[in-house]
Protein backbone atom coordinates (compact mmCIF):
# COMPACT_ATOMS: atom_id res chain seq x y z
CA UNK A 1 0.00 0.00 0.00
CA UNK A 2 1.28 3.46 -0.84
CA UNK A 3 1.80 5.72 2.11
CA UNK A 4 3.24 8.71 0.31
CA UNK A 5 3.05 9.51 -3.36
CA UNK A 6 4.94 12.28 -5.08
CA UNK A 7 3.86 13.05 -8.61
CA UNK A 8 6.00 15.24 -10.83
CA UNK A 9 7.14 17.18 -7.75
CA UNK A 10 9.07 20.34 -8.66
CA UNK A 11 10.33 23.53 -7.14
CA UNK A 12 12.26 26.46 -8.59
CA UNK A 13 14.44 28.93 -6.74
CA UNK A 14 14.73 31.79 -9.14
CA UNK A 15 15.87 30.08 -12.29
CA UNK A 16 17.27 26.99 -10.62
CA UNK A 17 15.18 23.87 -10.67
CA UNK A 18 16.12 22.38 -7.31
CA UNK A 19 13.65 19.56 -7.73
CA UNK A 20 12.59 18.86 -11.25
CA UNK A 21 9.57 16.63 -11.78
CA UNK A 22 10.37 13.78 -9.41
CA UNK A 23 7.87 10.96 -9.09
CA UNK A 24 8.13 8.27 -6.45
CA UNK A 25 6.02 6.49 -3.90
CA UNK A 26 6.75 5.10 -0.49
CA UNK A 27 5.19 1.86 0.68
CA UNK A 28 3.88 1.52 4.17
CA UNK A 29 6.48 -0.04 6.42
CA UNK A 30 9.50 0.30 4.19
CA UNK A 31 12.84 1.96 4.72
CA UNK A 32 13.44 4.18 1.76
CA UNK A 33 16.75 5.95 1.19
CA UNK A 34 17.49 8.96 -0.94
CA UNK A 35 21.10 9.30 -2.09
CA UNK A 36 22.81 11.76 -4.34
CA UNK A 37 25.72 14.20 -4.47
CA UNK A 38 25.66 17.40 -2.45
CA UNK A 39 23.22 19.94 -3.80
CA UNK A 40 21.24 17.27 -5.64
CA UNK A 41 17.98 18.39 -4.04
CA UNK A 42 17.60 15.70 -1.39
CA UNK A 43 16.91 18.00 1.53
CA UNK A 44 14.68 20.08 -0.70
CA UNK A 45 12.50 17.01 -1.19
CA UNK A 46 12.22 16.74 2.60
CA UNK A 47 11.42 20.40 2.88
CA UNK A 48 8.68 19.95 0.32
CA UNK A 49 7.20 17.00 2.19
CA UNK A 50 7.29 18.85 5.49
CA UNK A 51 5.86 21.89 3.71
CA UNK A 52 8.64 24.30 4.59
CA UNK A 53 8.72 25.09 0.88
CA UNK A 54 5.81 25.53 -1.47
CA UNK A 55 6.19 23.30 -4.48
CA UNK A 56 5.93 24.99 -7.84
CA UNK A 57 4.51 21.95 -9.56
CA UNK A 58 3.26 18.42 -9.00
CA UNK A 59 1.55 17.10 -5.92
CA UNK A 60 2.08 15.07 -2.77
CA UNK A 61 -0.44 12.62 -1.38
CA UNK A 62 -0.06 11.19 2.11
CA UNK A 63 -2.39 8.35 3.12
CA UNK A 64 -4.95 9.53 0.61
CA UNK A 65 -4.76 13.19 1.69
CA UNK A 66 -3.40 15.73 -0.75
CA UNK A 67 -0.83 17.66 1.30
CA UNK A 68 0.63 19.77 -1.50
CA UNK A 69 -0.92 22.95 -0.07
CA UNK A 70 -1.32 21.87 3.55
CA UNK A 71 -0.45 24.32 6.34
CA UNK A 72 3.08 23.42 7.52
CA UNK A 73 2.13 23.05 11.18
CA UNK A 74 -0.57 20.54 10.36
CA UNK A 75 1.87 18.09 8.80
CA UNK A 76 2.96 16.81 12.20
CA UNK A 77 -0.64 16.09 13.12
CA UNK A 78 -0.99 13.87 10.06
CA UNK A 79 1.89 11.76 11.32
CA UNK A 80 4.95 13.02 9.45
CA UNK A 81 7.96 13.83 11.63
CA UNK A 82 11.46 14.80 10.61
CA UNK A 83 14.98 15.51 11.75
CA UNK A 84 17.29 18.15 10.37
CA UNK A 85 20.69 18.00 8.78
CA UNK A 86 22.20 20.54 11.16
CA UNK A 87 20.44 19.54 14.37
CA UNK A 88 17.60 21.95 15.12
CA UNK A 89 16.96 21.33 18.78
CA UNK A 90 15.43 23.66 21.32
CA UNK A 91 18.85 24.45 22.67
CA UNK A 92 18.03 26.16 25.93
CA UNK A 93 15.48 23.63 27.09
CA UNK A 94 16.04 20.27 28.76
CA UNK A 95 15.92 17.02 26.84
CA UNK A 96 12.60 16.23 28.46
CA UNK A 97 11.11 19.55 27.38
CA UNK A 98 12.40 18.99 23.86
CA UNK A 99 10.61 15.69 23.64
CA UNK A 100 7.46 17.06 25.23
CA UNK A 101 7.16 19.70 22.53
CA UNK A 102 7.01 16.89 20.00
CA UNK A 103 3.65 15.88 21.44
CA UNK A 104 2.30 19.28 20.58
CA UNK A 105 0.30 18.13 17.58
CA UNK A 106 -1.70 15.83 19.83
CA UNK A 107 -2.45 18.15 22.72
CA UNK A 108 -6.09 18.64 23.56
CA UNK A 109 -5.97 21.13 26.41
CA UNK A 110 -7.06 24.70 25.94
CA UNK A 111 -5.14 27.72 27.06
CA UNK A 112 -7.59 28.79 29.77
CA UNK A 113 -7.50 25.29 31.21
CA UNK A 114 -3.73 25.45 31.25
CA UNK A 115 -3.67 28.82 33.03
CA UNK A 116 -5.68 27.27 35.85
CA UNK A 117 -3.90 23.93 35.49
CA UNK A 118 -7.14 22.00 35.87
CA UNK A 119 -6.97 18.31 36.79
CA UNK A 120 -7.66 17.55 33.14
CA UNK A 121 -4.44 19.28 32.16
CA UNK A 122 -2.49 17.34 34.76
CA UNK A 123 -3.95 14.10 33.47
CA UNK A 124 -3.03 14.96 29.90
CA UNK A 125 0.47 15.96 31.00
CA UNK A 126 0.93 12.58 32.64
CA UNK A 127 -0.24 10.87 29.48
CA UNK A 128 2.18 12.90 27.38
CA UNK A 129 5.02 12.02 29.74
CA UNK A 130 4.24 8.31 29.57
CA UNK A 131 4.70 8.42 25.79
CA UNK A 132 7.88 10.41 26.05
CA UNK A 133 9.46 8.16 28.67
CA UNK A 134 8.88 5.18 26.39
CA UNK A 135 10.97 6.79 23.67
CA UNK A 136 13.62 7.83 26.19
CA UNK A 137 13.87 4.17 27.15
CA UNK A 138 14.13 2.93 23.59
CA UNK A 139 16.91 5.34 22.67
CA UNK A 140 18.76 5.03 25.98
CA UNK A 141 18.62 8.68 26.87
CA UNK A 142 17.72 8.40 30.57
CA UNK A 143 20.89 9.92 31.88
CA UNK A 144 20.48 13.11 29.86
CA UNK A 145 16.83 13.49 30.76
CA UNK A 146 17.13 16.74 32.71
CA UNK A 147 20.21 18.20 31.02
CA UNK A 148 20.05 21.33 28.93
CA UNK A 149 20.45 20.14 25.35
CA UNK A 150 22.89 22.90 24.46
CA UNK A 151 25.68 21.34 26.52
CA UNK A 152 25.43 17.77 25.25
CA UNK A 153 27.82 16.14 22.78
CA UNK A 154 26.94 16.05 19.10
CA UNK A 155 26.17 12.35 18.85
CA UNK A 156 23.73 12.61 21.73
CA UNK A 157 22.11 15.64 20.22
CA UNK A 158 21.53 13.75 16.99
CA UNK A 159 19.86 10.99 18.96
CA UNK A 160 17.72 13.49 20.77
CA UNK A 161 16.51 14.77 17.46
CA UNK A 162 15.59 11.27 16.44
CA UNK A 163 13.85 10.80 19.76
CA UNK A 164 11.99 14.03 19.34
CA UNK A 165 10.74 13.01 15.93
CA UNK A 166 9.59 9.68 17.33
CA UNK A 167 7.78 11.40 20.19
CA UNK A 168 5.32 12.99 17.82
CA UNK A 169 3.84 9.52 17.19
CA UNK A 170 4.67 9.57 13.49
CA UNK A 171 3.51 7.19 10.80
CA UNK A 172 6.29 8.41 8.54
CA UNK A 173 9.63 9.72 9.70
CA UNK A 174 12.10 11.68 7.59
CA UNK A 175 15.73 11.43 8.68
CA UNK A 176 18.07 13.97 7.09
CA UNK A 177 21.62 12.55 7.16
CA UNK A 178 21.23 10.80 10.51
CA UNK A 179 24.75 9.42 10.51
CA UNK A 180 26.68 12.58 9.67
CA UNK A 181 29.11 13.41 12.43
CA UNK A 182 28.63 10.10 14.24
CA UNK A 183 31.48 7.70 14.93
CA UNK A 184 31.49 4.08 13.76
CA UNK A 185 29.97 2.73 16.92
CA UNK A 186 27.21 5.32 16.98
CA UNK A 187 26.48 4.62 13.33
CA UNK A 188 26.06 0.93 14.11
CA UNK A 189 23.63 1.76 16.90
CA UNK A 190 21.80 3.95 14.48
CA UNK A 191 21.28 1.20 11.95
CA UNK A 192 19.77 -1.00 14.67
CA UNK A 193 17.52 1.80 15.79
CA UNK A 194 16.33 2.55 12.29
CA UNK A 195 15.29 -1.06 11.88
CA UNK A 196 13.69 -1.07 15.33
CA UNK A 197 11.73 2.01 14.47
CA UNK A 198 10.27 0.21 11.50
CA UNK A 199 9.85 -3.22 13.03
CA UNK A 200 8.77 -2.39 16.58
CA UNK A 201 7.10 0.96 16.22
CA UNK A 202 5.71 0.33 12.76
CA UNK A 203 6.94 3.64 11.40
CA UNK A 204 7.79 4.06 7.74
CA UNK A 205 11.23 5.65 7.29
CA UNK A 206 12.72 7.86 4.60
CA UNK A 207 16.43 8.58 5.01
CA UNK A 208 18.82 10.90 3.27
CA UNK A 209 22.21 9.31 3.66
CA UNK A 210 25.73 9.42 2.31
CA UNK A 211 27.16 6.46 4.19
CA UNK A 212 26.62 3.69 1.64
CA UNK A 213 27.28 0.85 4.07
CA UNK A 214 24.48 2.16 6.25
CA UNK A 215 22.32 2.54 3.16
CA UNK A 216 22.95 -1.06 2.10
CA UNK A 217 22.43 -2.22 5.63
CA UNK A 218 18.99 -0.83 6.25
CA UNK A 219 17.22 0.21 3.08
CA UNK A 220 14.55 -1.69 1.25
CA UNK A 221 14.66 0.64 -1.69
CA UNK A 222 16.96 3.42 -2.75
CA UNK A 223 16.36 6.48 -4.88
CA UNK A 224 19.26 8.34 -6.43
CA UNK A 225 18.83 11.95 -7.44
CA UNK A 226 21.06 14.51 -9.06
CA UNK A 227 20.39 18.05 -10.28
CA UNK A 228 16.87 17.69 -8.93
CA UNK A 229 16.10 14.77 -11.23
CA UNK A 230 15.57 11.14 -10.50
CA UNK A 231 18.49 8.97 -11.65
CA UNK A 232 17.49 5.56 -10.46
CA UNK A 233 15.08 3.84 -8.13
CA UNK A 234 15.20 0.27 -6.93
CA UNK A 235 17.00 -2.11 -4.59
CA UNK A 236 20.30 -0.87 -3.13
CA UNK A 237 22.37 -3.02 -5.51
CA UNK A 238 20.38 -2.03 -8.58
CA UNK A 239 20.80 1.63 -7.83
CA UNK A 240 24.48 1.45 -7.00
CA UNK A 241 25.24 -0.39 -10.20
CA UNK A 242 23.16 1.92 -12.33
CA UNK A 243 25.44 3.64 -14.87
CA UNK A 244 23.95 7.10 -14.32
CA UNK A 245 24.52 6.86 -10.57
CA UNK A 246 28.14 5.81 -11.02
CA UNK A 247 28.61 8.69 -13.43
CA UNK A 248 27.05 11.16 -11.02
CA UNK A 249 29.40 10.11 -8.22
CA UNK A 250 32.57 9.63 -10.21
CA UNK A 251 31.99 12.44 -12.66
CA UNK A 252 32.72 12.09 -16.31
Amino acid sequence: MNMLQANELSINFGGIKAVDGITFDINKGEIFTIIGPNGAGKTTIFNLISRIYDSSGGNLVFNGVDITRFAPHKIAGLGIARTFQNVELFEHATLLQNLLVAQHAHHTTRMWEEVLFLPRVRESEREIRRNVEEIIDILDLQRYRDSIVHNLPYGVRKNIELARALCSKPKLILLDEPSSGLNVEETEDLSFWIRDIRDDLGVTVIIIEHDLSLVNDVSDRVMAVNYGRLLALGSPEQVQNHPDVIKAYLGG
Binding site: T43, N47, I52, F84, Q85, N86, E88, D176
Partner: protein
Amino acid sequence: MDMFFQLVINGLAVGCIYGLVALGFVLIYKAGEVVNFAQGELMMLGAFVAFTLIVDFNLNYWLGLALAVLAMAAFGWLLDSVVVRRIIGQPQFSTVMLTIGLGVMMRSGVSIVWGPETRSLSTPFDQMVFQVSGVMISPIYLSILITTVVLCAILALFFRFTRIGLAMQAASQNQLAAYCLGIRVKRVLSSVWALSAGVATIAGVLLAPISLIDVNMGAIGLKAFAAAVIGGFGSITGALLGGVLIGLIELFSAVYLPEGFKNVAAYVVLLAVLVVRPQGLFGTVGRKKV
Protein backbone atom coordinates in the same frame (compact mmCIF):
# COMPACT_ATOMS: atom_id res chain seq x y z
CA MET B 1 2.42 75.45 -6.22
CA ASP B 2 5.30 77.35 -4.63
CA MET B 3 4.48 75.78 -1.35
CA PHE B 4 4.49 72.38 -3.00
CA PHE B 5 8.00 72.83 -4.37
CA GLN B 6 9.18 74.25 -1.09
CA LEU B 7 7.85 71.17 0.65
CA VAL B 8 9.47 68.85 -1.85
CA ILE B 9 12.86 70.51 -1.42
CA ASN B 10 12.62 70.60 2.36
CA GLY B 11 11.27 67.08 2.52
CA LEU B 12 14.09 65.83 0.32
CA ALA B 13 16.64 67.55 2.52
CA VAL B 14 15.26 66.25 5.80
CA GLY B 15 14.89 62.86 4.15
CA CYS B 16 18.54 62.94 3.15
CA ILE B 17 19.52 63.34 6.79
CA TYR B 18 17.36 60.38 7.78
CA GLY B 19 18.87 58.54 4.86
CA LEU B 20 22.43 59.29 5.95
CA VAL B 21 21.80 58.09 9.48
CA ALA B 22 20.00 55.05 8.09
CA LEU B 23 22.97 54.42 5.84
CA GLY B 24 25.10 54.19 8.95
CA PHE B 25 22.77 51.56 10.37
CA VAL B 26 22.90 49.56 7.20
CA LEU B 27 26.67 49.69 6.92
CA ILE B 28 27.12 48.39 10.43
CA TYR B 29 24.40 45.82 10.05
CA LYS B 30 25.75 44.50 6.80
CA ALA B 31 29.24 44.21 8.12
CA GLY B 32 28.72 42.53 11.45
CA GLU B 33 25.00 41.93 11.89
CA VAL B 34 24.99 44.34 14.76
CA VAL B 35 21.92 46.53 14.83
CA ASN B 36 23.17 49.80 16.15
CA PHE B 37 20.44 51.47 18.14
CA ALA B 38 22.96 54.14 19.11
CA GLN B 39 23.32 55.51 15.59
CA GLY B 40 21.19 58.58 16.37
CA GLU B 41 23.34 59.21 19.43
CA LEU B 42 26.50 58.92 17.35
CA MET B 43 25.04 61.65 15.17
CA MET B 44 24.28 63.80 18.21
CA LEU B 45 27.71 63.31 19.67
CA GLY B 46 29.25 64.20 16.29
CA ALA B 47 27.24 67.41 16.14
CA PHE B 48 28.39 68.40 19.62
CA VAL B 49 32.03 67.69 18.82
CA ALA B 50 31.75 69.73 15.63
CA PHE B 51 30.10 72.55 17.57
CA THR B 52 32.89 72.61 20.11
CA LEU B 53 35.56 72.67 17.43
CA ILE B 54 33.89 75.31 15.28
CA VAL B 55 32.39 77.64 17.87
CA ASP B 56 34.36 77.13 21.05
CA PHE B 57 37.76 76.66 19.39
CA ASN B 58 36.88 79.13 16.67
CA LEU B 59 38.10 76.93 13.87
CA ASN B 60 37.18 77.35 10.24
CA TYR B 61 33.85 75.63 9.50
CA TRP B 62 35.29 73.11 7.07
CA LEU B 63 38.35 72.37 9.14
CA GLY B 64 36.19 71.90 12.22
CA LEU B 65 33.89 69.59 10.32
CA ALA B 66 36.78 67.53 9.02
CA LEU B 67 38.34 67.23 12.46
CA ALA B 68 34.99 66.30 13.99
CA VAL B 69 34.53 63.57 11.41
CA LEU B 70 37.98 62.23 12.13
CA ALA B 71 37.46 62.34 15.88
CA MET B 72 34.15 60.56 15.60
CA ALA B 73 35.61 57.98 13.24
CA ALA B 74 38.23 57.25 15.88
CA PHE B 75 35.47 57.04 18.47
CA GLY B 76 33.52 54.62 16.30
CA TRP B 77 36.63 52.49 15.83
CA LEU B 78 37.20 52.36 19.58
CA LEU B 79 33.57 51.59 20.29
CA ASP B 80 33.77 48.54 18.07
CA SER B 81 37.17 47.28 19.05
CA VAL B 82 36.69 47.76 22.79
CA VAL B 83 33.03 47.00 23.35
CA VAL B 84 30.97 45.70 20.47
CA ARG B 85 33.44 43.11 19.24
CA ARG B 86 33.03 41.13 22.43
CA ILE B 87 29.46 40.13 21.71
CA ILE B 88 29.82 38.93 18.15
CA GLY B 89 28.18 35.54 17.93
CA GLN B 90 25.82 36.23 20.82
CA PRO B 91 22.09 36.31 20.16
CA GLN B 92 20.67 39.35 18.49
CA PHE B 93 18.92 40.44 21.64
CA SER B 94 22.30 41.05 23.24
CA THR B 95 23.41 43.37 20.48
CA VAL B 96 20.16 45.28 20.69
CA MET B 97 20.54 45.71 24.44
CA LEU B 98 24.19 46.60 24.18
CA THR B 99 23.70 49.35 21.63
CA ILE B 100 20.65 50.71 23.47
CA GLY B 101 22.82 50.87 26.59
CA LEU B 102 25.60 52.59 24.69
CA GLY B 103 23.14 55.11 23.27
CA VAL B 104 21.78 55.96 26.71
CA MET B 105 25.33 56.36 28.00
CA MET B 106 26.32 58.67 25.17
CA ARG B 107 23.26 60.78 25.74
CA SER B 108 23.91 61.17 29.42
CA GLY B 109 27.63 61.70 28.82
CA VAL B 110 26.90 64.55 26.42
CA SER B 111 24.45 66.02 28.86
CA ILE B 112 27.06 65.93 31.62
CA VAL B 113 29.86 67.38 29.50
CA TRP B 114 28.01 69.95 27.42
CA GLY B 115 25.01 70.63 29.64
CA PRO B 116 21.36 70.34 28.70
CA GLU B 117 20.94 73.63 26.78
CA THR B 118 20.48 73.71 23.00
CA ARG B 119 22.97 75.34 20.65
CA SER B 120 22.84 76.62 17.12
CA LEU B 121 25.61 76.32 14.60
CA SER B 122 25.85 78.90 11.86
CA THR B 123 27.08 77.74 8.49
CA PRO B 124 29.01 79.67 5.83
CA PHE B 125 25.95 79.73 3.58
CA ASP B 126 23.39 80.87 6.10
CA GLN B 127 22.82 84.26 4.59
CA MET B 128 22.39 83.32 0.97
CA VAL B 129 19.01 82.68 -0.60
CA PHE B 130 18.52 81.28 -4.06
CA GLN B 131 15.49 81.95 -6.14
CA VAL B 132 14.72 79.50 -8.89
CA SER B 133 11.74 80.49 -11.06
CA GLY B 134 9.95 82.11 -8.16
CA VAL B 135 10.68 79.42 -5.61
CA MET B 136 12.83 80.45 -2.70
CA ILE B 137 15.38 77.81 -1.93
CA SER B 138 17.23 78.10 1.29
CA PRO B 139 20.87 77.14 0.82
CA ILE B 140 20.76 75.18 4.03
CA TYR B 141 18.47 72.66 2.41
CA LEU B 142 20.38 72.80 -0.84
CA SER B 143 23.65 72.16 0.97
CA ILE B 144 22.16 69.07 2.54
CA LEU B 145 21.06 67.74 -0.83
CA ILE B 146 24.39 68.40 -2.47
CA THR B 147 26.43 66.99 0.39
CA THR B 148 24.36 63.84 0.44
CA VAL B 149 24.74 63.27 -3.27
CA VAL B 150 28.49 63.87 -3.15
CA LEU B 151 28.91 61.69 -0.09
CA CYS B 152 27.00 58.85 -1.69
CA ALA B 153 29.05 59.08 -4.84
CA ILE B 154 32.23 58.94 -2.77
CA LEU B 155 30.94 55.95 -0.84
CA ALA B 156 29.94 54.13 -4.01
CA LEU B 157 33.41 54.65 -5.45
CA PHE B 158 34.97 53.70 -2.14
CA PHE B 159 33.15 50.38 -2.01
CA ARG B 160 33.84 49.61 -5.61
CA PHE B 161 37.45 50.57 -6.02
CA THR B 162 39.37 50.72 -2.77
CA ARG B 163 40.90 47.69 -1.14
CA ILE B 164 39.32 48.39 2.20
CA GLY B 165 35.94 48.99 0.57
CA LEU B 166 36.13 45.65 -1.20
CA ALA B 167 37.27 43.99 2.01
CA MET B 168 34.21 45.41 3.75
CA GLN B 169 31.97 43.94 1.09
CA ALA B 170 33.69 40.59 1.34
CA ALA B 171 33.47 40.50 5.12
CA SER B 172 29.79 41.32 4.98
CA GLN B 173 29.12 38.42 2.65
CA ASN B 174 30.99 35.78 4.56
CA GLN B 175 33.18 36.57 7.52
CA LEU B 176 34.83 33.21 7.75
CA ALA B 177 35.69 33.09 4.07
CA ALA B 178 36.99 36.64 4.15
CA TYR B 179 39.11 35.73 7.14
CA CYS B 180 40.55 32.74 5.34
CA LEU B 181 41.43 34.93 2.38
CA GLY B 182 43.61 37.06 4.60
CA ILE B 183 41.24 39.92 5.22
CA ARG B 184 41.63 41.19 8.75
CA VAL B 185 37.98 40.92 9.58
CA LYS B 186 38.23 42.57 12.99
CA ARG B 187 39.99 45.55 11.54
CA VAL B 188 37.47 45.78 8.74
CA LEU B 189 34.57 45.72 11.17
CA SER B 190 36.15 48.48 13.20
CA SER B 191 36.67 50.57 10.11
CA VAL B 192 33.03 50.11 9.17
CA TRP B 193 32.13 51.54 12.57
CA ALA B 194 34.52 54.39 11.98
CA LEU B 195 33.00 55.07 8.58
CA SER B 196 29.52 54.91 9.95
CA ALA B 197 30.31 57.27 12.82
CA GLY B 198 31.91 59.68 10.35
CA VAL B 199 28.83 59.68 8.12
CA ALA B 200 26.66 60.21 11.19
CA THR B 201 28.75 63.23 12.16
CA ILE B 202 28.25 64.78 8.74
CA ALA B 203 24.52 64.13 9.07
CA GLY B 204 24.54 65.79 12.48
CA VAL B 205 26.32 68.88 11.24
CA LEU B 206 23.99 69.13 8.25
CA LEU B 207 21.02 68.86 10.53
CA ALA B 208 22.29 71.46 13.00
CA PRO B 209 21.01 74.55 11.18
CA ILE B 210 17.53 73.04 10.84
CA SER B 211 16.90 71.58 14.23
CA LEU B 212 19.53 73.01 16.60
CA ILE B 213 21.99 70.86 18.47
CA ASP B 214 20.68 69.32 21.63
CA VAL B 215 20.78 66.13 23.62
CA ASN B 216 17.55 64.79 22.19
CA MET B 217 18.70 65.14 18.63
CA GLY B 218 19.40 61.41 18.62
CA ALA B 219 15.69 60.72 18.54
CA ILE B 220 16.07 61.13 14.80
CA GLY B 221 17.78 57.78 14.99
CA LEU B 222 14.40 56.13 15.40
CA LYS B 223 13.06 57.71 12.24
CA ALA B 224 16.24 56.78 10.43
CA PHE B 225 15.68 53.30 11.69
CA ALA B 226 12.26 53.33 10.12
CA ALA B 227 13.92 54.50 6.92
CA ALA B 228 16.41 51.65 6.98
CA VAL B 229 13.65 49.11 7.51
CA ILE B 230 11.51 50.56 4.75
CA GLY B 231 14.53 50.35 2.51
CA GLY B 232 14.99 46.70 3.34
CA PHE B 233 17.85 46.95 5.83
CA GLY B 234 20.39 45.30 3.60
CA SER B 235 20.49 47.91 0.94
CA ILE B 236 22.32 51.22 1.02
CA THR B 237 20.29 52.77 -1.78
CA GLY B 238 17.20 51.44 -0.07
CA ALA B 239 18.15 53.22 3.14
CA LEU B 240 18.57 56.53 1.34
CA LEU B 241 15.33 56.16 -0.57
CA GLY B 242 13.55 55.12 2.63
CA GLY B 243 14.90 58.22 4.33
CA VAL B 244 13.76 60.48 1.53
CA LEU B 245 10.35 58.84 1.50
CA ILE B 246 9.93 59.43 5.22
CA GLY B 247 11.19 62.99 4.99
CA LEU B 248 8.69 63.84 2.25
CA ILE B 249 5.75 62.15 3.93
CA GLU B 250 6.56 63.84 7.20
CA LEU B 251 6.66 67.36 5.80
CA PHE B 252 3.58 66.88 3.68
CA SER B 253 1.60 65.41 6.54
CA ALA B 254 2.61 68.38 8.70
CA VAL B 255 0.90 70.67 6.22
CA TYR B 256 -1.97 68.66 4.86
CA LEU B 257 -2.98 66.45 7.78
CA PRO B 258 -4.29 67.29 11.27
CA GLU B 259 -1.85 68.26 13.97
CA GLY B 260 0.09 65.41 15.48
CA PHE B 261 0.34 63.30 12.36
CA LYS B 262 3.77 64.70 11.58
CA ASN B 263 5.22 63.00 14.63
CA VAL B 264 3.88 59.58 13.81
CA ALA B 265 3.92 59.71 10.01
CA ALA B 266 7.22 57.86 9.81
CA TYR B 267 5.97 55.06 12.01
CA VAL B 268 2.61 54.70 10.28
CA VAL B 269 4.42 54.39 6.96
CA LEU B 270 6.80 51.90 8.52
CA LEU B 271 4.01 49.69 9.82
CA ALA B 272 2.15 49.95 6.52
CA VAL B 273 5.25 48.92 4.59
CA LEU B 274 5.89 46.01 6.93
CA VAL B 275 2.34 44.79 6.56
CA VAL B 276 2.46 44.89 2.78
CA ARG B 277 6.07 43.82 2.32
CA PRO B 278 7.51 42.41 5.54
CA GLN B 279 11.01 42.36 4.10
CA GLY B 280 10.96 46.10 3.30
CA LEU B 281 10.64 47.73 -0.09
CA PHE B 282 14.04 46.72 -1.38
CA GLY B 283 14.77 43.68 0.73
CA THR B 284 14.74 40.11 -0.38
CA VAL B 285 13.26 37.28 1.62
CA GLY B 286 15.95 35.73 3.71
CA ARG B 287 15.30 32.23 4.85
CA LYS B 288 17.13 30.03 7.23
CA LYS B 289 18.55 26.96 5.61
CA VAL B 290 17.84 23.61 7.21
